[in-house]
């Protein structure tokens, strides 16, 4: 059998030269559709069909289909698995969809199948897959700098723009958490002269663990009585620190904010331990991906400031040095007033 396989491999070498290369660069303007809009078919492929995050994304997809009358739908693998995601995309290509929006499980694993889609003239838009080669554009909810600044603005509001604060990251090796924190600290330095970074422990690590966040916060507040605010990054920091604030009776005296999921923070938002957490809404991300695909199918040129018609996605900017990755300001502030409206 081994010999046969080798034989096959050998034969194939001859054929191989006829196969087109994978990593080609395509001009998005060539993807303008010749069909009327009513015949367009756009699919969004999430990482997983039943995960709450992507169920929320499907709300945006359905909304888009309703708003525009375009046949847009979401179709994902039954499990979060790169191989299965590639199969769903295979099926979509075979069905002859006009555009594929994808949130890749693993960008590397999708290169061949997305390359195939592009070679057949199908528009490919990525979301949260900035390293993807075979796509026309990758759209991101935010830039790391923008999100870091926003977290700081929220924290400064709570702290009355004065007092000592520190930053908390999921892991000191987590690149994006550190970028958010750096941007936040730089913003505070420039805009809030009365806020100072805790010099003894400027960056606290919680090892991506809720209990560690709680314990570290308790420790910090005891050790540094004048510590007033914690700039959190990981979604685990808000609920963890909030528990510490509540237990130490510091409600209204100490503050924290970070990226956070509505349901995890609901109790603390409602009882006033937390004022707000930040999040990007997958519904808007779904809506924006489809809007982007439609722009390409219409033959529009994509430039800085392009409007993807979802809240926070209205003025997309190219990432520094990139002609492919676009970033929005797609975060939302979750407070006690809107925490119930997300469904996840």
């Amino acid at each position: 059998m081994k010999r046969r396989l080798l034989l096959v491999v050998a034969i194939v070498m001859i054929f191989a030269l006829a196969v087109p290369l994978f990593a080609q660069s395509y001009n998005p303007l060539n993807f303008k559709s010749k069909k009327p809009m009513s015949q367009w078919k756009i699919a969004l492929v999430p990482k997983d069909a039943t995960n709450a995050w992507f169920v929320r994304m499907e709300v945006g997809v359905k909304q888009f289909a309703k708003d525009t009358g375009i046949n847009a739908f979401q179709k994902g693998p039954p499990k979060t698995d790169a191989a299965m995601q590639a199969q769903v995309i295979e099926d979509l290509i075979a069905q002859g969809v006009d555009a594929i929006c994808v949130v890749p499980v693993d960008p590397a694993a999708l290169e061949p199948v997305l390359g195939l889609a592009l070679s057949k003239g199908i528009v490919v838009i990525d979301h949260e897959g900035a390293s993807q080669q075979n796509c026309l554009y990758d759209i991101e909810a935010f830039s790391n700098e923008g999100l870091g600044q926003t977290i700081m603005i929220e924290l400064a509001k709570m702290m009355g723009e004065k007092g000592v604060y520190t930053t908390m990251v999921g892991n000191v090796t987590n690149a994006s958490h550190n970028e958010w924190a750096d941007a936040g600290v730089a913003y505070a330095k420039a805009h809030y002269p009365n806020m100072t970074l805790l010099a003894a422990e400027p960056r606290v690590e919680i090892m991506d663990n809720l209990d560690t966040a709680y314990e570290r916060a308790k420790e910090l507040f005891k050790k540094y009585p004048n510590l007033k605010g914690i700039f959190g990054t990981s979604s685990l920091s808000s609920p963890g620190v909030a528990r510490a604030i509540e237990e130490l009776g510091l409600k209204g005296k100490a503050f924290v904010t970070s990226v956070g999921l509505p349901n995890e923070n609901k109790v603390y938002l409602k009882d006033g331990t937390l004022q707000s957490v930040l999040l990007w809404d997958p519904r808007d991300a779904g809506y924006a991906q489809l809007a982007m695909a439609v722009k390409i199918l219409k033959g529009e040129k994509i430039e800085n400031g392009c409007n993807l018609t979802a809240p926070g996605w209205t003025s997309m900017q190219f990432a520094p040095g990139s002609t492919k990755v676009l970033q929005g300001k797609g975060w939302i502030t979750i407070t006690k007033d809107n925490v119930d409206s997300f469904g996840f």
Binding site: R4, A16, P78, Q87, D91, D106
Partner: protein, 346 residues
């Protein structure tokens, strides 16, 4: 020449008692017609067949591996782990040795070594599983659950869980070749594997031994069969097939990763059972397994054509069809048994 006679007898009994193949064929045609009627412009098209032929070889070959283990009365849950580990070894070798931008002619020897390397890893993985089962008498389900964990663990360990990408372009170009712009290489490999394994099972002494041992290991041993060697060789073949599947996945994903295709394990077991392989051993054919693979692929691709079927119902439909087929199978075989009993009473 006694063995040849035995082989012939066993084969005769098998084909006479295998209306399962016909049932599967009916089911296959039913699913095909159903999808064609419901989605006439999408399902029965060249593009859709081409896409399906690209999809099933990777898990199809693993299903055949699991089926072999099941015929001997065991099971091999380590197929996906073996596939990924062997692909990762090949990928690491290619990424580490092939000079960047080397011309294709220079890359070819590396590719051949990588393929051989990955096949040897597959064989080694199979040997480990086979040894645990045959020499240490560990039940196959436990032994291979362990090896699956072990192989995946090693794969995660040597890659830190990261995808191994940056393979020479030539590899995926070859791996994704399509003959006559329609028949993918992976399908050809699947075809060769299915035919060779089919021939092995039905026309060789070793195949007959596998069925005999699967039917009754004790009787097989008393009849002078070397069960230890049969088990060992079965799992080695399964390991080898898994590494072939791994090479296909690596070409399709242009990379290798420790957890690609993790949900395939269960799917492959279901395919084997659906294809008429008796989980208790000793019964089933590759023809049946192939039809089961096709049925599942038709269903899967077909379901993806219904935009309005919510993803939540997909599993329900999938599982429902599986159970229906199993029940349908059972009902028919009961009917046949009754008929046979009636006949013998007359």
């Amino acid at each position: 020449m006694t063995t040849t006679k035995t082989a012939a007898t066993v084969r005769g009994v098998r084909s006479a008692r295998d209306p399962n193949l016909l049932r599967l064929l009916v089911m296959l045609v039913f699913v095909f017609v159903l999808m064609t009627v419901l989605r006439p412009n999408q399902f029965a098209t060249i593009a859709s067949f081409n896409s399906m032929m690209r999809q099933f070889p990777e898990y199809g070959i693993m299903s055949i591996g699991i089926s072999l283990a099941m015929i001997t009365g065991g099971i091999d849950l380590g197929v996906v782990g073996t596939a990924n580990l062997s692909a990762i070894v090949a990928a690491k070798f290619l990424i580490g040795t092939v000079p960047r931008g080397a011309p294709p002619a220079q890359v070819v020897p590396y590719l051949i070594i990588a393929v051989l390397l990955s096949l040897s890893v597959g064989l080694a993985c199979g040997t480990i599983a086979g040894t645990l089962i045959s020499r240490f008498n560990i039940p196959a389900i436990l032994a291979t659950l362990g090896t699956q964990q072990l192989f995946t663990g090693i794969a995660i360990g040597i890659t830190n869980g990261r995808p191994q990408s940056g393979l020479p372009l030539l590899y995926s170009r070859i791996g994704n070749t399509e003959f006559f712009r329609f028949v993918p290489l992976s399908f050809m490999i699947f075809f060769i594997v299915a035919v060779s394994v089919g021939i092995m099972l039905s026309r060789t002494r070793f195949g007959t031994f596998m069925y005999m041992m699967g039917t009754n290991p004790r009787a097989a041993r008393y009849a002078g069969l070397n069960n230890t060697s049969i088990i060992l060789r079965t799992y080695m073949i399964s390991g080898l097939l898994s590494s072939v599947a791994g090479l296909i996945m690596m070409a399709r994903a242009n990379s290798a990763k420790a957890d690609y295709g993790a949900p395939y394990t269960l799917q492959c077991v279901l395919i084997a059972v659906l294809g008429g392989i008796d989980p208790n051993g000793g019964f089933g054919t590759i023809g049946g397994v192939t039809m089961a693979i096709l049925i599942l692929q038709f269903l899967s691709s077909g379901l993806n054509m219904f935009n309005n079927i919510s993803n939540f119902y997909r599993d329900v439909i999938w599982g429902g069809v599986l159970i229906l087929v199993l029940v349908f199978n059972k009902l028919l075989s009961w009917r046949e048994e009754r008929r046979a009993v009636r006949k013998s009473m007359n």
